[in-house]
Symmetry: D2
Subunit: 164 residues, 4 copies
């Protein structure tokens, strides 16, 4: 996949942290930011722990939500109004008390909906600790004001949306 | 439903806040705490907002996770080791910039798994803003060491689990 | 809720059975068909069983999908192009070898998306056996060609969609 | 991954078709059957169509359910009592009127729960048409009667379950 158009990973994180203080508190960092594929690091912090010395579920869920927002921006550029419509999590293994890495990729980019998948792992261990999949509703004027008329040649994602 | 056995709503919240600082930061309050049914209030706070002046998704997701943990404790008493295995959200309406109320109820309590549902609304408006449903894996020695042999007379929940 | 506008429950089922033979094979019957709320009966049949003498999961999933389609039609009238975008199931109890009743209700009807919930139970037992929640993407010209401009006075559902 | 222990793909399909007539009606075929990873083909048939000339959702959901059951058997051998506890679908693109291929892989195999992911595509097109993820509750005596004590050397899956 090619470099993301219109917004850099740092610009995305700045926007997210500035807009949503709850997100800023996580202190995420971008490891990779391509059009339709990215990796975000959630630094380990004592305040994110839960009983058992493991990163708590709400921190992982916030991380997935940020990653999905980033996925949409990585392809469409700065969009403040995109909203999550559904988000499903499966918690697979106990996270280690270390940084969490979230790998996200776009599964679909339609004119009205985008679907992305996030797989999280503890730094240094390839096994997934959490899987998330969710849908974003895109603003009507996405893609240059022509929702329903996908721009040609957008890299790395297929726009043959099934439905919306 | 009757009063929850073994743990009060306040004791539950204290335990949750003490164990998980990330959760403590939300400042939730218990409005109702019965065996298998409860209501938790998430007080409005500027730091929970997202663009558009609405309560951000991660705060709602954290609220649902707390509510599900509370549901399990409302029936089984203090359990620190229960863990969420899956959690699915549908975001239905833009939350107003006011407190959020989460009504949660247990749909199933088996010997190994519990399933609960959470419906969230903005204070003063009956329409749902978010729906969550998820599963908790219960520790093996839940229900007095007799998993699979439901205790008689447990109020308000059916223990005829389908599977687990 | 009032009677569904524009289409009757029987007309809906005929349309569904005629359009989708796989669905016709289930032989569903309408028990209630109001705007935004309905009940569908899946008659017991040996061919729907799975090991253990219980109704198989795929039959329950097909039933939920039909119910969601019916929900949309119960409010918007005949719509052939609506498509499910996501659908999440929790299987709660082993179904008895009897008819299954699916109670469905609309949680949201926006200009672009509808979200509905389905709770299934074995006939004669009030405990839920399966919970489903899912989203439908509505055709662009829904609601009289004015997507985004909800028709006034539509009974039984709130149209203040959050997003889409 | 290595060959599945204890059961072949054909034996699995025979068992599934024999046990669940509803599944037999789909006429699925095994393309690949390894421990923790498999591919199942759903042959195109007019009776599976829905309006628009595309394979209907219930057929895709049944296919995912079969694939998850197969995943569990591919690792643990013949298990009749495993049951799905949750299953979430995202429908991504309109299926073409051709065979559907479902690629499934195990994300987690714990002592009590298994989680698998299924990605479906139309034959001849690499883009995903449907994504499913779900959980199976395993019988208590799985893995030789020693739930919680993973058998050594099981190929292709990590058994360090987080929770159950």
């Amino acid at each position: 996949m090619s470099r993301a158009p219109g917004i850099s990973g740092e610009a995305f994180l700045d926007l997210a942290a500035e807009s949503v203080p709850f997100v800023a508190a996580l202190g995420c960092r971008i490891e990779r930011f391509e059009a339709g594929a990215l990796t975000i690091r959630l630094p380990y912090a004592d305040r994110l722990l839960r009983p058992g010395g493991t990163v708590c579920g709400p921190a992982l869920m916030a991380l997935a939500d940020i990653a999905l927002w980033g996925l949409v921006m990585s392809v469409l550029g700065r969009i403040e109004l995109a909203v999550t419509t559904d988000l499903s999590f499966h918690f697979l293994r106990r996270p280690a008390p270390v940084d969490v890495l979230a790998d996200a990729r776009l599964l679909k980019l339609g004119s009205r909906l985008a679907v992305g998948e996030v797989t999280m792992r503890s730094d240094g261990d390839p096994h997934p600790i959490c899987h998330a999949i969710g849908t974003y509703a895109l603003p009507r004027d996405t893609a240059g004001g022509a929702a329903g008329t996908p721009a040609p040649g957008r890299p790395g994602v297929d726009r043959t949306g099934r439905s919306a």
